[in-house]
């Protein structure tokens, strides 16, 4: 008994990604390569911004790896009380919306840090630490420790063991983590928009500035092209390097036993990790403090101000953005689950072309959110597709980012399904369609629930694409926070802090519900 034909499921995701991703991308390319766009390539300012973007990404990556390695080791190899809690706390920053990260560091750092490279770097390390701890730590946990023991019995001291055994075996995982951190920080938007200044600006922020402030669409498009080219180059280099460095080794499947903290080195590394854990909590505490700090005293003034309308009709009360964000999240979930679920079915049932469809759907994830938003904006701003003034364009942008996550959650479940279940249904007289509804769909629904949770979390925190797409009178929570942070004065920064706390709580709810839904033992993202 064959599963249902893949084409029944494939058309919807193909059309969706074609219209809302491929079409905007070609528009960006053609606009970028127009005469006015190409002009920008000869401008010194462009290369200065590209240079700074690269510099801050390289520095952020090196720092994040340096800060993350001790923690990756301590959390995955050492046995100490509160190990799981430390791992969880170090992971928290990564699920925070980027604009909240920006707001937290605004609240934490002294004003003299505003617009400095240092401010951007510490925020990037805070945000991406989890990538190193998870990716490298996950690998480290399964790195057979007998290689190190063999080296010790051959006369190698701790430093020699690290240099000649541990590091060469660990290097591919470190490189993988570093490549991810580099991509995240190279395309970082929210953090740099909030914390950067005129001389500390990245390509992403410049694309936004050219679009929104200068109305230089060809220039912005050219910067998108430049940025995509840079990302492609980085991906190629990272893949090559990784292929060269990868060592075929037996990994311990169940994970290596944790060892008690005895040596001085272990004590120092654990100490560093615990200090880092405390430091990670500081920005969030500063955020909470800023939301109730009024002048030299304490109060709920900023929280009350959230409910008050501004002076103009466009300045609706900040609180209204909660309703906007939640309704966009609901729409995003619906789109992402239907389109992503169909895509997962198409990939699972396809006899050929499954990989092509899979890669095509993952592309939006590799493209920066700013490019996605900008592409949608310049493609659907003109008749006959004038969707810009319609609210639906925002959830569509969010769904593009969320669909690959839904596919990743649903696909493994579908692939692990016993095909004989369908055969049983068929022998009982069920048609192909009826079999799918009664056999496949029930298996899918739980995974879809998890995918829905991810989609909701993505939608609630999305800032890059939304900055281009949100209507002025209906800002989402992150956009509203960004606006408040851009205005001077305590009344705005206080409200931004309060609203950030709201966003953290709403996002945390989505994440917790998702974790609850997730079947034990299934893959984590």
């Amino acid at each position: 008994m064959q599963p249902p034909a893949a084409r029944w499921f494939a058309w919807l995701p193909v059309v969706f990604v074609g219209v809302f991703f491929a079409l905007p991308l070609t528009t960006v390319l053609s606009r970028g390569f127009s005469a006015r766009g190409v002009d920008l390539l000869t401008s010194a300012a462009t290369w200065r911004i590209l240079g700074f973007t690269t510099l801050q990404a390289v520095l952020s990556t090196v720092l994040t790896v340096a800060v993350g390695l001790p923690a990756a080791y301590a959390v995955q190899r050492l046995d100490f009380r509160g190990r799981r809690l430390v791992l969880a706390l170090l992971t928290v920053p990564f699920v925070l919306p980027t604009v909240v990260v920006g707001a937290s560091f605004r609240a934490l750092l002294p004003e003299s840090w505003d617009g400095t490279l240092a401010a951007i770097l510490v925020a990037h390390v805070f945000f991406n630490l989890a990538v190193v701890v998870r990716v490298v730590g996950g690998f480290w946990a399964h790195l057979d420790n007998r290689y190190e023991q063999a080296a010790r019995t051959l006369g190698a001291g701790p430093i020699t063991v690290w240099r000649t055994v541990t590091w060469p075996l660990l290097r591919p995982a470190v490189l993988a983590a570093a490549a991810l951190v580099f991509l995240f920080t190279f395309t970082s938007f929210g953090v740099v928009l909030v914390l950067g200044g005129p001389t500390t600006t990245t390509l992403e922020v410049e694309i936004y500035r050219r679009t929104v402030q200068l109305f230089d669409l060809p220039g912005a498009a050219m910067l998108c092209v430049l940025q995509m080219a840079a990302v492609v180059v980085v991906l190629i280099v990272a893949t090559r390097l990784q292929r060269r460095l990868t060592v075929r080794q037996r990994l311990s499947r169940s994970g290596v036993a944790l060892r008690p903290v005895r040596s001085t080195t272990d004590r120092v590394l654990l100490g560093i990790t615990l200090v880092e854990t405390v430091l990670v909590a500081l920005p969030l505490l500063a955020l909470a403090r800023a939301s109730v700090r009024v002048g030299d005293g304490w109060g709920l003034d900023w929280w009350r101000a959230l409910a008050v309308d501004g002076p103009t009709t466009r300045d609706v009360a900040a609180w209204a953005s909660v309703r906007v964000s939640v309704s966009y999240a609901v729409a995003t979930v619906l789109i992402a689950v239907v389109v992503g679920g169909s895509a997962a079915c198409a990939i699972a049932y396809a006899r050929r072309g499954a990989d092509a469809l899979d890669s095509a759907l993952t592309l939006p994830l590799g493209t920066s959110a700013v490019t996605v938003g900008f592409g949608l904006l310049i493609t659907f701003a003109v008749p006959p597709f004038d969707l810009r003034s319609s609210w639906i364009i925002v959830p569509i942008g969010h769904a593009l980012v969320a669909i690959p996550l839904v596919v990743r959650t649903v696909l493994p479940v579908l692939r692990s399904m016993d095909p004989r279940l369908r055969e049983v249904a068929a022998t009982l007289g069920a048609s192909v369609g009826h079999t799918w509804r009664t056999v496949d769909l029930p298996v899918l629904s739980r995974a879809m629930g998890v995918g829905a949770g991810f989609a909701a979390a993505v939608s609630l925190g999305e800032f890059g694409a939304t900055s281009f797409l949100a209507r002025a009178d209906a800002p989402t929570l992150p956009v509203q926070i960004g606006r408040l942070l851009a205005r001077p004065g305590e009344v705005n920064s206080g409200q931004a802090a309060a609203l950030s706390v709201v966003l953290v709580v709403v996002t945390a709810l989505a994440v917790v519900i998702t974790e609850r839904l997730r079947a034990p033992g299934s893959a984590s993202l």
Partner: protein, 233 residues
């Protein structure tokens, strides 16, 4: 360097020469593994430790090598307490059950590891690696990747690697456990002859009584009990 078995003297009553393990007690994760276990190995002796899987034989070797810290008891070499001497300064080699060759180094890179640690000059290093590979009958295989070796070849490389670090004592943790019987006996005899020729004392752990009798001058049996394994021999 060579000595015949006949010429060897076995003097187990003298505890001030060679290895002396006294009243070692170990529990791992709250489970007692070794119970006040004592053992001596003379400087020119091969001792076999026989016992069923999971009885704590490997743990005892790890204690001797310095990879596991015992809860109580003393390990000495020539009368000197090893407690404060870390694994890499003990000059005690360990051959693991499944070789544990470094996957990022070729055969020569594995055999030469101990030489690299000491900082042996390149020319000498190369000839020493050739000599070690010849010792274990693998001459000319230096450039092979370790994942292309058979199980028996991998164990020979592991042995050459351990000998390259010039150990004063060699610990063998079921080195042939994963091989078939014929190969196991042939390799067992080869290793015994080689270690005797080199004058390196050995502690050889196995669950196979025939292998134990073949490779060792003396066989001790590890017997499990509720408080941890005890020695009988």
């Amino acid at each position: 360097m060579s000595s015949t078995p006949e010429a060897r003297t076995t003097d187990t009553s003298s505890s001030s020469h060679g290895l002396d393990v006294a009243a070692i007690t170990v529990s791992l994760g709250g489970r007692p593994v070794l119970d006040s276990l004592s053992l001596t190995v003379a400087p020119d002796e091969a001792v076999a430790l026989l016992g069923p899987s999971g009885v704590g034989k490997s743990t005892l070797l790890r204690v001797i090598a310095g990879l596991v810290t015992p809860d109580a008891g003393v390990v000495t070499w020539d009368g000197i307490d090893l407690a404060d001497i870390p694994a890499h300064r003990r000059s005690i080699g360990l051959v693991f059950q499944d070789a544990v060759l470094f996957p990022h180094r070729d055969v020569a890179g594995n055999v030469g590891y101990g030489l690299d640690v000491i900082g042996v000059p390149e020319a000498e290093r190369r000839s020493e690696i050739e000599r070690l590979l010849d010792l274990v009958d693998l001459g000319g295989l230096g450039e092979r990747a370790v994942d292309t070796l058979s199980g028996g070849q991998a164990q020979r490389v592991a042995l050459a690697r351990a000998l390259g670090a010039r150990p004063r004592l060699l610990l063998l943790d079921e080195p042939f456990g994963a091989l078939d019987r014929d190969l196991r006996e042939r390799l067992g005899a080869e290793v015994r002859d080689l270690l005797r020729a080199l004058g390196v004392p050995a502690v050889h752990v196995t669950h196979d009584a025939a292998e134990a009798a073949l490779v060792a001058d003396r066989v001790l049996e590890l017997v499990p009990s509720e408080r941890g394994a005890r020695l009988e021999g």
